[in-house]
Every structure is written in C-alpha cells, then in structure tokens.
C-alpha cells in the first residue's frame, strides 16, 4: 500500500529524513515510535504530500505521491491531482484541527459534499452513522468547543472516514489528550484495525502498538533504526538506541 525507498527531506540545512525505506501492506497496522525530532511525524506528512520529499521514491497504492514519472523525469502534480490523491488517504492530527465554525456533523459532512459531490441528505445519513460508530450519536449538533478532547478526536476520525479512505494516517492522535481520555480514542482505532483498515500510526502508546500493531518501527535522528514484530521489538530490542529509548518510556 505504502512504499518508501530512500526518502529524504530537509528543512533548510537540517536533514530530518535521511533515507527512509519502509513498506506497509494492505490491512497492515504500522506503528512508528521514537524520540521527538526523530522525523516520524514528518515522514507521515510526506505520505499525503503535506510535505514534499527531496529525494527517493514514495508511492501509495502504486502511484508516486505528488509526482508523475514520464520519460525518465519526475513532473510535479497539479494541485487538483494532489487533492485527488489525498482523497484516498485519511489523516488524523495531534491537535484535532476540527473546523470550529461547524458542528460535529457538519465537520463530517463537509468533505463528502464539497469534494465528492455526495448529496447532502446521503452525506448526513452516512455522517450520523459514522458519529454513532465512534460513540458520539448524541453529540452530533455540538460545536467542537463544546466537546472534550477525546470527543473532538473521535469526530476527527469520523471526518477522515467519511471520505472512505483506503489508508489512515494518525499523527500522535492521543498526545494532546488528558490521560483519562486516551482510552476512548484508542478504542475507536482498535475497532478500525479490526475492520481491516490499513493504518500508519505515529504514537507514544506502547501498549496500543503491542496489542494492535502488526509492525513496530523505531525511528531516531531521521532514520529507521529497527523494525519488526511489536512484541519482539518491545521485549527484545536489537539496537542500543532502541533499548535506551524503550527504557525511558516503558
């Protein structure tokens, strides 16, 4: 589903991704962990072209992200083509980024109606079903500032799902939440994984990674240090840096 080969990315003189090779299979749940500044969020943002990569190849479902290869050269995609690629990829942000001037239901309905041209009635019906699925049937008409962090993040997940993506990206979805609200968001994500959604999750929740993840990737200083079965990586890390990191967070 996702193929990264030698992906590099710099901000100014700082190289934040130093050649990432990773692949995510359909229905796979990949969790990426690592210290802050290790480039894990940047890599995630590259997958739906919120950041452009400087070198290497990154493709989703066989299509290069943000580029087209023609006659041995890469051509940048137009905004409309990038937007079309992003429709297939859902993204959930650390800070939720719900639209504050819309109710929960309006947030969920917005993209299907505006982007896909789904009829309002149908979108509302499906939106209500999605909000019910994340346990917010009775909060549909509330504005984001009337919801707790956990509820907001669940609306954000429903909003991403409304576009029927084939891949979901989670950028530290529980890091901005009060500890007692983390569980409700992880429950929704667990349900998604059980339904067979392909997911890439940047997280600090080792318990979730162990229980739900198919692969655990440890990144440090812009590179993949170690990846493999979560239970194995967490209990028997092969690298000194992984051991040092895990000893601090576990």
């Amino acid at each position: 589903m996702v193929e990264a080969r030698g992906v590099r990315k710099s901000f100014g003189h700082v190289e934040v991704l130093k050649g990432i090779d990773l692949s995510v299979a359909p229905r796979e749940v990949m969790c990426i962990v690592g210290p802050s500044g290790s480039g894990k969020s940047t890599f995630l943002r590259c997958i739906n072209h919120l950041e452009r990569i400087d070198a290497g190849r990154l493709s989703v479902n066989g299509h290069l992200v943000g580029y087209r290869e023609k006659g041995g050269r890469l051509h940048e995609l137009h905004d409309a083509e990038v937007a079309a690629q992003r429709r297939e990829i859902g993204m959930v942000f650390q800070r939720f980024n719900l639209f504050p001037h819309m109710t929960a239901l309006e947030n969920v309905v917005e993209a299907p109606v505006q982007v896909k041209g789904v009829s309002k009635a149908e979108a509302r019906e499906r939106g209500a079903a999605l909000l019910e699925r994340v346990g917010l049937a009775d909060r549909m008409h509330n504005y984001p500032n009337q919801l707790s962090g956990g509820q907001q993040q669940r609306v954000a997940i429903a909003r991403a799902l409304a576009m029927e993506p084939m891949l979901m990206l989670f950028d530290e979805p529980t890091s901005a939440l009060d500890p007692e609200l983390v569980g409700e968001v992880l429950d929704v994500m667990r349900g998604l994984a059980a339904d067979g959604m392909t997911m890439v999750v940047v997280t600090h929740e080792m318990g979730f990674a162990r229980e739900v993840g198919d692969t655990l990737v440890f990144m440090d200083d812009g590179a993949v240090v170690e990846d493999g079965d979560p239970r194995q990586v967490l209990t028997d890390p092969q690298h000194e840096r992984t051991r040092a990191f895990l000893s601090k967070v576990l």
Partner: protein, 318 residues
C-alpha cells in the same frame, strides 16, 4: 484540636462585612452631573439653537433624499470595497510574485491618496479622455504597423457622462476602501490556524474551496469588527462627495438649508443628529453579523441542541 466525625459540623456563618467605601465614585458622579446639567441648560436657554426651526427642516423631502443617497452610497461603496479587499488580500497572499506585487502596489497607492483628492481626480477623468473604449490592447498601433486603417473596439462610453455625480463618487470611495479592506482581510486570513487549511487539504479539498469554506468563514470573526469601523468611517466620508460634486448627499442638503436661511447652527446640529442616528443603525447590523460568525466560539446553544435537550427532558419525565 480534634474533629468529631460522628456529628456533621454546623455550616459556617454567612459573612456580613462592612463594604469598602468608594468616595471617589460619588465625587466623580457629582462633577459629571453638574457638567451635564450645565450642558442641558445651555441647550435649552440659548436661543441660537432654534429647536423648532431645526425639527421643521431636518426632515424635508430634500434632506430625506440626501439621507437615502448617503446610506445607499455607504452600502454600495462598502460592498464593492469588501469584494475588492478579499480579492486583493488573496492576491497578496498568493505564491505568484507578480500577482502579490500588483496587490501590494494597489494597496500602497490607494492608502496614500486622501479620499477627497481621489474624488477630485475621478471627477476630472472626463478631461483625460473624452471617450473610454475597451477592446484589443494597442489595436490602432498594431493596425498601423500592419498598414491597415481599423481598430478592434468592443464597447465604450463617454467619459464626461460616467465620471460625474454618484458613479464617480462610488468609484472613488470603493477603490479607496478596497485598499483598507485588503489589509483587514489579510489580517483575518492570517489569524486562522494553519492546521485548519492543512486538515482541509488532507481531506482532498482544493485551495480555493479551502479558502471559501474553511478559512474565510473563520477569518470573518476577526474581519467584522474593523469592517464595522470602516463602514462608519465610510458613512462620514460620504460628506466628501462635495468634491465630485454630488449635491444630493445628506450633509450638503442640511447645510444648504442652513446657509439659505442663515440658521447655520440648527442645521449643523441636525447634521450631527442625522449621522448619529445612521451610525447607530449600522452598529445594530454589525451586532447581528458578529453573532452570526461567532458560531462555535461562544457557549450559545444552537437550535438543534435546544431541540435535542428538550426531547431528552421530555423523554426523562415519562
């Protein structure tokens, strides 16, 4: 000290403290009351005010028509100015350096020119060209070069007909307003969290749709209060239309009565009262606009929430 947990302690006695005295407040109130009394006394006793004369004349047909012109001019000039401002603000934030530069030059130019100077200039555009025609650029020069006697003009108008009166005033005020509104809209757009546009892009929304559906509605919260200021400033600046001249405007009509009858003070006071009333009217409009665009930011219950709560309440009593 020991606490007996078997008996509930008596609730603490309600505090009845002597409140702090504020003698300064009483002194200030007395001073202001005396000043206000002196002011009212002056209004009532000075015969120059001619209140009856003022009331008889401040609602004449000509004045009412003037008030209508002033109000229509304010609304039209602001409407065009706001649209122009949004366009210029989006241009200034564009990644295209030519477009951004053009917007900068426009704003630089029109903010620097006093409105009265601009109005004089627009009114004299009829002297620059007698006829204004639209068609292919440099058509006559190109045709000359090719050796033809012809031009490519689509339509045109008489400069002296267009650049006078109401239209000239509207052009001048709207062009000037566009520059100010552009800065206000830009500040509004930049006040919206960049995460909002990112979330919209991640959902596959195009740049234009993101701007229209997500960014601008949130920017409105920041844009409306200064736009209210601009509208009230525009109401007052319609008095500058004398430069064009537009003589059907409110202030001119009131002054005309004043100078015709030598009752200058009563009509000047009438002017003040008229502008106070019209500005108050506009402030009411601003209040409702602000309420509309603060959705999701206050704690006000929406209609659907109220209905849902009532439905729950009814459900629980049965």
């Amino acid at each position: 000290m020991s606490v007996d947990s078997s008996t509930t302690p008596a609730p603490p006695e309600q505090i009845r403290a002597v409140p702090v005295r504020h003698p300064g407040r009483w002194i200030a109130a007395a001073v202001i009351a005396v000043l206000a009394a002196m002011f009212v006394h002056m209004l009532v006793t000075n015969p120059v005010f001619q209140w009856d004369f003022m009331l008889d004349n401040m609602f004449s047909d000509a004045v009412l028509r003037g008030a209508r012109t002033t109000l229509i001019m304010t609304i039209l000039a602001m409407a065009i100015g706001i649209l122009l401002g949004i366009l210029l603000a989006v241009m200034r934030l564009s990644a295209n350096p030519v477009v951004a530069g053009a917007a900068w030059v426009y704003i630089w130019f029109f903010r620097a020119i006093p409105r009265i100077v601009l109005l004089f200039f627009v009114a004299s555009l009829g002297a620059l060209y007698a006829r204004y025609e639209f068609g292919f650029p440099f058509d006559q020069q190109l045709m000359d070069l090719l050796g033809f006697q012809a031009d490519w003009r689509l339509f045109g108008f008489d400069g002296n007909e267009i650049f006078k009166g109401f239209i000239a005033g509207l052009i001048g005020l709207a062009l000037s307003e566009g520059a100010y509104m552009a800065e206000i809209v830009r500040a509004g757009i930049q006040s919206v969290d960049p995460g909002q546009a990112e979330a919209a892009h991640a959902l596959g929304m195009s740049r234009g749709r993101t701007m229209r559906r997500i960014v601008l509605p949130q920017a409105m919260r920041v844009i409306i209060p200064p736009t209210g200021n601009e509208t009230i400033a525009m109401l007052k600046d319609t008095a500058l239309l004398i430069a064009v001249p537009v003589t059907t405007e409110l202030n001119f009509q009131l002054r005309a009565i004043g100078s015709r009858t030598f009752q200058v003070i009563p009509m000047a006071v009438a002017s003040i009262i008229w502008y106070l009333a019209l500005a108050s009217l506009l402030m009411i409009g601003q209040y409702f606009l602000e309420r509309r665009f603060s959705r999701g930011f206050g704690n006000r219950e929406t209609r659907q929430q109220r209905e849902a709560r009532r439905a729950r309440d009814v459900g629980s009593t049965h």
